[in-house]
Symmetry: C2
Subunit: 262 residues, 2 copies
DNA sequence: TCCAGATGTACGCTTTGCGTACAGGCTGAC
DNA sequence: GTCAGCCTGTACGCAAAGCGTACATCTGGA
């Protein structure tokens, strides 16, 4: 029925059920059954079955009237990612001390596809227009964390991210020329850290350094973010980058990383 | 086949698929197919189908060898809870300012069953032995946030939580006598806030105040947490509670709450 | 009162998803 | 080197799980 061939060994109901769960979003925080059916494209009885299932599992709740909403149990799904990645727990003290020493928000992020995902964070003040939290995704090519992660990523991955789709100019300052980005990546690789200024959002300024696992592979980026009003690239480089690199190295060490290879 | 009758309208595959996803935990961060089959009790081919499905959806990744792990995309499921609850976004500035003014961690939590779930948080230093993050759950009866949430919860809910199962003595100080807890709840209701000392963990001390929605219903608790080394109940009451209640009231106001009803 | 729009239910068909059984591959012990 | 014991991948036939159409029911507003 579906066009593709690879339908074998694919569990349709799981996909559909999660699709229903994810249909709850900012635009539809309390959808009705009919609304969900329309959003997902499934029949109303089907959506109803999924809702009943999700309700029994505790992820969804009917508010009496015909409206449904997500329960905080949904958050516990993400906990399993956190639990299974020792890095995140180990990073906590380093994030806290970095945030305290710099009086700025500190973040840890990972690459997923062509996006950077925040996996741990200590916010100090609001710097971005969007509310950054664990799980938030931003385009890799326009952020210091993305630059760090790409700088040491396997060439295949870098190519996928950079040429997979055209590099979007998120702000007027975003590097979008392929050669420029590649040159920047090799600069980052050489100096061991990255500073990006107003490429993701006007007024936003951040610095990142790589975190390595025991095999020396870069598995995460540690970042400190501020705004152009409070600091500037030069100050960041002088005052923050040493702290940042130090914190990243110590975090790497606690992951059992060998001393920096290159 | 399953003993219960209510199997109708229940989508087994959704339940099973999520069960597989949740089988990844601290004890099994990189399970093999066979391991997952054993953990979940499903047949290996079944587990394989779920893994393939989850992999295509981007939640799970095979690490080349026969081991699987969760991807950060799992975190984005929780984002949908955050997105659909305006409260959480609105709370951010209040959490930040509370954390700054008290130099202590600030948290926002909600009741789910007999547990309190952290839904937003600004950590300042590590206070608990476990790493508290958004999604973390703690028993309601032993925490200041739980006391606040129960103090204004419908009697049915309170009864379920308090009599559903015996109140566990998490520490030697935990209130476990039903009458004591009920008395404490009415005290909380009268004074408008709660302080709990070393009932959840030795050395841990926290204060909470209720957050109300526009209908006046208490929908969350705002908390400030510290350790007995850094403060004590009396100091907390004098210095922190006013700030806390003020922040909670302003957050309530931004939710459009009417003035406090009682 | 009646209509519009919603949710709940029944039911028969299809195909999805199931597990058994077998093939193939890797690793380590002897 | 070879065999045993583990694993993952695949085939296949069967049962039932999940499907959507069609209809009943309820609610609120005109």
């Amino acid at each position: 029925m579906a066009s593709d061939d690879g339908d074998r060994d694919y569990v349709q109901s799981l996909d559909r059920g999660i699709t229903v769960l994810l249909a709850f979003d900012a635009e539809h925080p309390e959808p009705s059954l009919a609304e969900l059916a329309q959003l997902t494209g499934f029949s109303r009885p089907a959506v109803r079955r999924f809702l009943i299932t999700l309700e029994r599992m505790g992820y969804v709740r009917s508010n009496g009237a015909g409206r449904w909403s997500l329960t905080p149990r949904v958050l516990s799904i993400g906990q399993h990612y956190t639990e299974t990645h020792a890095l995140i727990e180990l990073a906590q003290p380093h994030l806290l001390s970095l945030a305290e020493r710099t009086s700025e928000s500190a973040s840890l992020a990972t690459l997923d596809g062509d996006e950077v995902v925040y996996v741990a964070r200590v916010p100090v003040r609001r710097i971005m227009s969007i509310n950054v939290s664990v799980g938030t995704r931003v385009p890799a090519h326009a952020t210091s964390m993305g630059r760090v992660l790409l700088a040491w990523a396997p060439p295949v991955v870098v190519d996928e991210v950079l040429t997979g789709r055209p590099l979007r100019a998120v702000t007027p300052n975003t590097l979008t020329d392929l050669d420029d980005v590649r040159a920047e990546l090799s600069r980052v690789r050489a100096q061991g850290w990255s500073i990006v200024s107003e490429e993701l959002e006007i007024g936003l300024l951040s610095a990142s350094a790589p975190v390595r696992d025991r095999s020396g592979e870069v598995v995460a980026a540690l970042a400190s973010s501020t705004s152009v009003g409070r600091s500037d690239a030069e100050t960041l480089r002088r005052d923050v980058v040493p702290l940042l690199v130090d914190a990243a190295d110590r975090l790497s060490a606690s992951l059992g990383a060998a001393e920096r290879v290159s």
